[in-house]
Structures are given as structure tokens and as C-alpha cells.
Subunit: 358 residues, 4 copies
């Protein structure tokens, strides 16, 4: 079906820190376990911008040009010889992390922790901000007809929220604090509500983001000023909620916010660290330990796509309002600039020249 494709494989390639280029890449051939995809919608993530601006995140350092993008959906164009569950024309959402080895993490169902995992747009692995892209078919999930491509692409950030709420143990009647109302805080809010949380409070510095949170269902919003002390913020949150939160999902990575999370959480509760900040942080660990407040990290996600698709298809969660901007792939640099400036929530790049719809 090469005939269905043109030869244009425009891609968003990061050459080095601050050197982002739109350029042509060869159209890849799928291996036996892969599918070739015509990309449709790809969201821009904070990490894409971070690589662009800094050339690295922690120990992951850009050493050669890399295609960006990992929040993506597209259409199957070609099917590898060993692939059974997909066929040409299937619309799919892409899980960007694909374990390379069948190690103990993978066998135990925690493949996100596999040290050799492939992950789109994490050096040296290419992402999918291209017109055409191949991916392991086992990590492509068929979208039901009632889901849009953009919903498919949003499953990636949504998965972070699912994994966070799952690790937090959110359940019926949970009282939840979310620190930070960026894209990750907001998807965590949506998921917490869908899992039965009775009350959710959310914090941010930005009034605009908090008003978006309110629209998406937050029961309480807390505007944080940089000089607020963590203890007093914790107190404010408990007062608003009528009780200390049973779990806090930290989505800023900021030291003082981690402190707030610990002070605020009820004894026996959980703080989930989603936000990733500086290497060493100073925190009231005895306060947490002596009240058995568990501190659990989140590294991406595993086993979330089927659950996310079920949830979106049933209408229990509506992620559509998260998309505030759209750009054709050709205008990727403007799109990145928009995200960099913190305007809106989620910026979508539309990779299919013939279909720029949601």
C-alpha cells in the first residue's frame, strides 16, 4: 500500500539544545512485530520542551538528532508479518514505552521500570512527531469508533494520571489533594473523580489554570503564593476539605510543594510524587514516617491503555477540553513556542495533511 503514501515524511527533529528543526526523514519499514502508522495527532509534552530547551532531562542526554513527540495516535498503513490483532485502516493510540527485554520487571507486570525500555523521544529513541512512523504493534491499541484521534493521543498524559491515582489508591469516598494544575495535575483530577473521590482540592500559582481545574470538576482550588509556608498551606487545604486529604498527588516537582503534600496528608495516607524536580530535596520525612504517610513515585505508567480506552469510550471521563491549541505539523515550531510560554493546556500537532480534525 505504498501507493497510499506520498514520500513526505516531515518530522520534528531536535538536533541539539535549542536547535529544533522540521526536516524530512525516510519512511521506515515495519519489522515483523511492528505496524507502520500514518500519524494523525501528537500532543506536545513538557518533556519535549524541556529537551528542546536543555538538551537533557536528568541522565538522559541528547547525543544525536532525535525526533520528538510521544503523545500520539494514527492509522495503520502496513502490518508486520507476525502481527495478528491489527489490520490496515485501524485507528490506534500509541503507548510510547516498549520493553526491549523480557526481564523480571516485564515478567512481573511493571515493564515501565525495565532499564532497557524503548521510549519515544527519550534519547536516543526517536519519537513520533512525523507523518509516518513504525511502532511495536503490541503497544498500539485500536480506538473504538466513538473516540477521536485527539482523545487517542491524550491517553498518554491521561495514563500518567491513571497510574498516579492507582498508586495513590484513590477509591470511593477518597479525599484528594492535587498539587499543580498543569496538564498532569488536571488529568489526575479527572481520573480521581472517575475513581470515586468525593472531594478534590487542587493548587497552583496560576489563577487561569485553577479556573480550568474548576471547570474540569475540582471541588476546591487553592491559589499558592511563592512565600506561603507549607504548613499553613496544609492547614488551609485541610480546612477547605473538612479533613486532611487521604492522598495527595504532587504534580509540580517543586520542593515546597512536596513539603506541603507531606504535611497535608492524613496519617496512614499516601503522597504520590509525579512531579520530578531537583535531585536532592529537603523534606519533613519524620513527619511522614511517624504518621505512616507513604511516599510513592510514579514513573510513567504501565497497563493503562485498555483501561483508558474503556473509560473514554464509556464517557466517564472527558479529556477533550484539555486541548486548547492546534497547529498543522508544518507549524511545529510555533506550537512548541506556545507550550514553552505556558499558554493554554495542551497543544496538538496535526500530522495528516488530509485530515486536520480532532
Amino acid at each position: 500500500h505504498k501507493s497510499d503514501m506520498d514520500l513526505d515524511n516531515l518530522s520534528v527533529v531536535l538536533h541539539s539544545q535549542k536547535d529544533l528543526r522540521l526536516e524530512q526523514r525516510p519512511i521506515p519499514e515495519p519489522g515483523p512485530n511492528d505496524v507502520l502508522l500514518q500519524m494523525h495527532s501528537v500532543g506536545i509534552c513538557g518533556s519535549d520542551v524541556h529537551y528542546w530547551q536543555n538538551g537533557r532531562i536528568g541522565d538522559f542526554v541528547l547525543k544525536k538528532p532525535m525526533v520528538l513527540g510521544h503523545e500520539a495516535s494514527g492509522t495503520v498503513l502496513k502490518v508486520g508479518s507476525a502481527v495478528k490483532h491489527l489490520q490496515m485502516g485501524d485507528r490506534v493510540a500509541i503507548e510510547p514505552g516498549v520493553p526491549r527485554e523480557m526481564d523480571e520487571f516485564f515478567k512481573n507486570g511493571r515493564y515501565n521500570l525495565s532499564p532497557t525500555i524503548f521510549f519515544c523521544a527519550t534519547p536516543p529513541d526517536d519519537g513520533n512527531l512525523s507523518r509516518y512512523y513504525t511502532h511495536n504493534a503490541n503497544f498500539c491499541y485500536k480506538l473504538p469508533d466513538n473516540l477521536t484521534f485527539e482523545e487517542g493521543a491524550l491517553i498518554e498524559p491521561l495514563s500518567v494520571g491513571i497510574h498516579a491515582c492507582r498508586r495513590a489508591g484513590v477509591t470511593l469516598g477518597s479525599i484528594v489533594l492535587i498539587c499543580g494544575a498543569g496538564p498532569i495535575g488536571l488529568v489526575s483530577l479527572l481520573v480521581a473523580k472517575a475513581m470515586g473521590a468525593s472531594k478534590v482540592a487542587i493548587t497552583d500559582l496560576s489563577l487561569e489554570r485553577l479556573s480550568m481545574a474548576k471547570e474540569l470538576g475540582a471541588d476546591f482550588t487553592v491559589t499558592v503564593a511563592k512565600e506561603d509556608s507549607p504548613q499553613s498551606l496544609a492547614q488551609t487545604v485541610g480546612d477547605l476539605l473538612g479533613a486532611p486529604p487521604t492522598m495527595t498527588i504532587e504534580c509540580t516537582g517543586v520542593e515546597s510543594s512536596v513539603q506541603t503534600a507531606i504535611y497535608a496528608t492524613q496519617s496512614g495516607g499516601v503522597v504520590v510524587l509525579v512531579g520530578l524536580g531537583k535531585e536532592m530535596v529537603t523534606v519533613p520525612l519524620v513527619n511522614a514516617a511517624a504518621r505512616e504517610v507513604d511516599i510513592r513515585g510514579v514513573f510513567r505508567y504501565c497497563n493503562t491503555w485498555p483501561m483508558a480506552i474503556a473509560m473514554l469510550a464509556s464517557g466517564k471521563v472527558n479529556v477533550k477540553p484539555l486541548v486548547t491549541h492546534r497547529f498543522p505539523l508544518e507549524q511545529a515550531l510555533q506550537a512548541f513556542e506556545t507550550t514553552k510560554q505556558g499558554i493554554g493546556i495542551k497543544v496538538m500537532l496535526k500530522c495528516d495533511k488530509n485530515d486536520q480534525h480532532a
Copy 2:
């Protein structure tokens, strides 16, 4: 505050099988850890009717007259000397099971399994279908202003649904089968949805009950005919849901329905037995075992009232439509007759002469 009370403590007393009477009982005095309550709304449960018709349930045999009723709410009239968290005038929902001993079950947080537990309207313990009633204050929960007394009373059956869904592990994206659309099946449906189930199918013999289930949010209903084979029903359910249910909550107690539950459930899933039927049942246990479908029982509930109140107060669950009939306490026998005939869903008795509202 005896002055607030008249001396009328009309009570619904079961003297022996089929001998149900309305009669006066002395107004009790609360002990140091108790509260005296003016009862407001008490729902009639299948078990109340069962004691009335059979004089026993399993090993619990009526040996002396017993007040019926255990789905209840009321207002605090008097507070025992050691009670701190309640005061006169507080509107409360009553948890009918109160552990008598601090045994290992209680210390481990599973007090519902304590063999010496007090339980309203389980021989020989009196229930609360009276005008006035005393109860351990630790098992009375203050109702927020936005909850009605009837919602307070409905927390009891709702708690069975909460405990069932919790034991089933219902979570985001779960696919749930519920067998039986009686009051217990219906509250399980409400709870499953609130905990994030993406699809719920429910079975019953009665079209009327299934149409109520549909109104309450069931995605699929399956009308069962007595001659249907469990395997074929299991197949039907899987076809409707698009996949086998990840968990099944059995709320009929009928042998063939337990079989359906096992056949229908996905490998690695859970069957929760809420319905309690005959002592020995014949079931495809190897089918369950060899697919690691766990079979978990439910005995009442524990630690559900706070969670239920949070859920009702936040509007995440609406139990009000379950109440289909109301009778003043004086007409308790007609009310029992109504439940016995399987008319409607939940019949409420209104115990306060001066306030017969919801």
C-alpha cells in the same frame, strides 16, 4: 430532655414465625457509651421479612420476641456520659453491627467477622423499628445537612454494595456483571459505577426490576429465564459487554446464578458472593480455580459509613430513587406485606409522628 419525648415507644416486634406485632416497649436509657435516638426512617430488608416468614435464617433462630429493623436513621435525644463526638439534636445514620469484644477480628479492622458482634434484628438482638432506640454512639454517624434521613437509612443496604464492590476490586475501567436486580444488586450497580466501572451488565428474572436498573445506570440488562443454561448466559453476557466481565457480583443466592457468575468471569477475575442461598451448592469449581477466578464472600460490611456519607454528600451516588413506598410506623404490617410481595424496591417506615418526610 425526657420532656421532649412522649411515652409512646411503638415497636415492630416479631414474636414467632409469622407472628408480627405492633406493640409498646419501654423507652430505654442510654449507657455511658450510647445515645438515645428518636427514630425517623427505617427501611424494610429482605432479612426482616425472612425472619417473619421463617423464624430463622441459617443458624440464627428466633427464640424470644425481637424488634425488627436495621436500616435506620434518627435524631440524638440523649447522650451517654462517655460520648464526646455527638450531641443532642444531631441527625445520625446507624451502623447496626457493634462488636462486643475487642477480639483479633476487631483489632485487624474486620469487625464484621467478630463472632460475638451485636447486630440489630438478628436473634437475639433487638432492631430499631421503634419510636425510640439506644445505640452505641461509636456506630452512629452524623449526617451532613444536605442528606435526608432516608438517605441515612439507605446507607445500610448501600454499605453491602460498597463492601461487595470493594472486595471485588472494582476500579477504573472495570467491566462488571451483577446477578440480580433486587435492592442489593441495585446498590452494587450504583457503587460500581461510582468506583469507575466502564460497563455494567445486570441480570434478573423480572423485567420491572431490570428497567429500574436501566434507570439507575446499567449499561446492559439480561432477562433470565429459569431454564437458561449458565454457560449460555455467560456467553450472552460476554457478548453484550464485548469481553468477559472482570468481576461478577452475585446478588441472588441462586445456585444456577452462581454457576453463571463463575463461567462468565474473566480469567484472573473475581466472583463476589453477596447472595446467600442454600447450604450446599454444586458449582464448576475447577473452571474457577484453573482460571484463577477468585471467589470471595461478603458478610455485611465494615468501615463503610464514612465513605458512604462522603459519597452521598458529594452527589456522586443517588440512592433516593430506591425508595418506592412509605408507610407510617403504625402501618408497619402493611409495609411488611408490600415488601413480602416483592412490590417496588425499598419500603420505608416513618417512625416520627411529627415528621414523616424523606
Copy 3:
């Protein structure tokens, strides 16, 4: 390294019910993810004998000749092109189940439930009772120097015990009942002790097997007579242990023993079904449900080899006494006859002509 091998690949092949033959098979070539193994020790399992005697187990029906054997260890002779973690000369234990598809069961760490899994000596998949055999390298685990090949082979039945005790939740101070002192009951006993059980009682019809159990560490043994009632056996067990067992591991598959397991287990406890008996069984399910005694099946195992190796290497568990008979591969039919007659516990076949040691 073909030079290291002769062309003799004597194999134990089941042609049809009761038609077991020793015959030559071609020496297979390893695929890219496989290793070619020179087999050393292979235990005979009840299921091998069952296929031989009945030509089927449940829905698994022998339709064409199949090599038997799945409790095995050997030495790597050749390494597939994509294999990294093994090399020629490595001594390995073989996990006989290899998932074929990356389905949701596999991704979630429960690959034993994958419906398309390859499993040695389960029709139509060949086992490893041969001189030479290829297997997926990801399911071959390097043996430390201080473990014998027979210990390596015994990891397979031991894994059933590990999975059973893990599903039972055996932990420090657990009181455990094991029904049946065959190989599976005995490994469950060893594992329960190693996981911290304070007391283990074990039942069997056979005094000889119970005396083996005693030697292996059982605190109490219960000789069952066929006419004993399950309730009275349950009572006896509770009396011996000083309390009802917190969990029971059923390793007979016999209906009355499943009944005993349910009656005996403490409220809030667990019955694990390892034994697989007839399709429909009659059991006191209400007794279990109303005491929240969970019933959990065991289907083989997953993620047990690394843990088993750690345990054997550290000397925490000693499986060596389980081997009561050894035969050279050439005498496989006598070996099978021995197991069929229920003599001893575990019969080992020695597949390496040049090394018939443990």
C-alpha cells in the same frame, strides 16, 4: 558445537492413550530467542502419567504424538542469535510455560493465564523428556554452582507450592492446613514453613506419605479415612492446631477434601485450590461466603523461578529428600510405571548418558 553432541535424541513420546514409546527425534535447531539444551534431569509429574493413562486432561486432548516431561534442567549447548543472558555451558532450570502473545495477561504479570501460552507436555506442545531440547532462553534460568540439576528440575513442582502459598498469603505466624501429602502438598509444606508459618498440619489417606511430611517439617499430620465427615475433620484439625487454620491449601482435588478445607478455615481466611478434580463439585459455599473465607485457584505459576533459586541457593528450603527414585532415560517406561503405582514421591529421569548424578 555440534561436535559436542551425538545424534542420539532419545525421547519419551506419548502416541495415544496408554501408548508410551521411547524413540528417536531429530535434534532441533534453536531459533533466535532460543537455546538448545542438553537435558540432564527431568521429574515425572502426575499429569504426565494422567496423559499416558487417559490421553487427556480436561479440555486438553492428545491428538498427535507428544513428548512428555516438564520438570527439567539441562546445559546450554547452543545459543540463539538474539540471546544475551546465557552462554554455552550454562546450567539452567527450565520454566515450561512460555507465553506466545503479549496479551493483557502477560503485560499485567500474570502470564500463566494467557490462553495461548506454550506449555511443555500439554497437547499439542512437546515436553522435554529427551536428550536434546530447545526452549525460549527467557524462560531458562541459570543455576548457581551450589544447586544440583535435580534441584533445578524440582523448581517446577516447587513453583506450584510457591504460587499456592503466595496466593494464600502465608506469612509470619500463619497457621496452615495442607490437604494431601503428594508431591504438591509436600512442596507447599516446605514453602509455607519458609514463609514463616508457625504451624502446619497436613492430611492424607496414606500413612507413608504423612510420615514423609513429618520428616519434611509438618507439625501435625492427620490420617484421613474415606468415611470421615468433612465437619469432623475440620474440627480435628482446629483442635490439633489450637485454632482454625488461617489458610488451607487443598492439594487433592477430592470433593470431600475441598469441603473440609472450607469448614476448617478461619473466618476471613483463604482456601487455595491447587488440586484439580471433577468438573462440578458440591460445596458449602454459604459457609465460606458468610465467613468471608476466600476461595482462590492456582493455575501453575508465574514469576517463581528467580525466587525459588534464591531460596534453594540460600539453603532455606531443601527439596532433595523429595527424590526417591532415579532411572536412566532408557528405562523411562519403568520410571513411569513406578510413578503410576504411587511408589515414593518424585521419580527422576536422567537424560545425560555421561552424567547420571543428582
Copy 4:
């Protein structure tokens, strides 16, 4: 039975920082739910010494004289009117924490987190370093004949180890790192082994303590020098164990050791914080979060006495070697001096004039 008692109730009373006195106290009368105990053996804990030296631990400040001691066992002399499970002459181990209110923590089985809990020798609650002492009977556990009083007293520190290993999830084949070989590190070592750990490494500054650890079953010991970097220690530990520990139990409270714990632990593993150090600590939280290494605190324990008794009675754990010194109650000040100087492991005070045996 007052006749059995003399009027001597010598007690170890802390009047204020550094002011520890032996003085007479009235012999108390048991309330309806209490028992009066003749104390036999009481261990000295680091916290007793800490109150003596500092007059406070964190927010718990000594404001009036307080009897010290909380690791205790004795004999029932008198039984409160409501007590059923104990009688005169019973030898019991004392759980020092007794919840005062039936709050949500208690109902959920985590009564150690109840903010109003009574706890021996935590201001303002008196401990049991006396000749006679009353305690809630529900928190006194009968000792089997084959346990000594000292074993009974040692259940208290052992319980910290049990709770720590339980929160860590130690199970069959676990690889465990323990930081600190004081009494708490050593009991954690014993428990980890009993729960199935295959390898345990333990660190300390003191060679003497490490040699005790070796005797008690540690597989590896690591002598720490104050200047060692946490990363290099983590590396050393992983090298010794052959793999990073699946869980680390931190029993020093020292900042650099918490850092070592995080760096050392395997991705997906657990760090349990038992040691309680300074309020704010600087730690590599991103390292933990991004590898999903959970950080879980331990606050004392709950639901450990029955399990500990089962374990000691079955001989699975031997705590006797922990007692290195014994003093008659009259020499309590010398005993405290010994503990303060860090000599030996556990110092026992013998409170019964007529029986100073173990």
C-alpha cells in the same frame, strides 16, 4: 488477693530531664476492663534513655513525673469485672499502646495511628517499670508455657521488626538491606529471615554490633565509616548481595543512611523508615520516585502480639541472645547507665523480688 502482694511498688520515675528516681508509687486498682499485673521483666528502650537525657522526643514533652518502661511482661494478680479471657496467675506480655477512642484508625485496624492512643512511658502516660501495674486486659496476651517472661517482654521491640518487615513486604526470596544493627535493626534481621528473605545485609558503624548481627544470621555485614558516600555504600551493598536489595529497612534515623537506603534499593522496591532522626532531611527523592521505590514509615506497630507469640512458641525466631544484661529493679539507675553507654544490646530489669530468672 491483696494478700499475695506486699505494699512495695518501687517504680522508675522520670521527674524531669536527667532526673531519674526510684520511688514508691501506690499500687493501682484495675478498672473493669483492666488487669493488675505483678511485673516480671521490663527491657530498657532507647526512647526511655532519650526521655531521661532530653526530657522530650519530638512533640512529646515531659511535663510531670512519669514512670518509664514499655517492653514488659508480668503475671495477672487481679482481674477487672468485665474481663473474660484472662485469670489470676496468667503470665502475659503487654502491648503498651491502647487506643482510647474507637476512631476511624481503630475501626480500620491501624490503631497505632490513633492520635489519642495511650502509650506506656510516652508523656503524659505512665509506663510499667514498677512492681505492680494495671493495663487494659485486651492488650495483655497470655504467654504459652514454653515462653519465658523475657521473651514476653522482647515482643515489644520484636513487634517493631515485624511491623517493619510487613510494611516492607518481605517474603520468600526477598533480598534485604538493614541499616543499623541496634536492637531494632537486629529484630528486623530476625524477622526478615523468618519471613523467607534469602539474603540479608546489615550496616553499622560498630564492629561489635555487626558481629552480633552475624551471629543472629546476617548473610553480609557492612562496616560504615562516617565519611563513606551514600552512593558508594549503595554500590558496595549491591555488590555483596549480588543484586540491589528488594527492600531496605532503615533503623538508624541518620540522614546519610536514609540516602544510602534510597540509592541501594532496587527499582520497584521499598524503603521502610523505622529510624527517626531530625525533622528535615535532604534526600534524593527523584531517584526514589523515578524508580518507583516506595518510602514507607513505621510508627510502632499494630496487630503483632499474636503473631509474635506464635513465632516464638514455634521456635522460628530466637530473641533470647538479644538480652545481654540484667539488673534487679533496685539497680535501675545502673541499668539505664549501661544502656546509655551503648554497652551490649538489651538490658532487662527484673521487677519481681522473688523471681529474677529469665
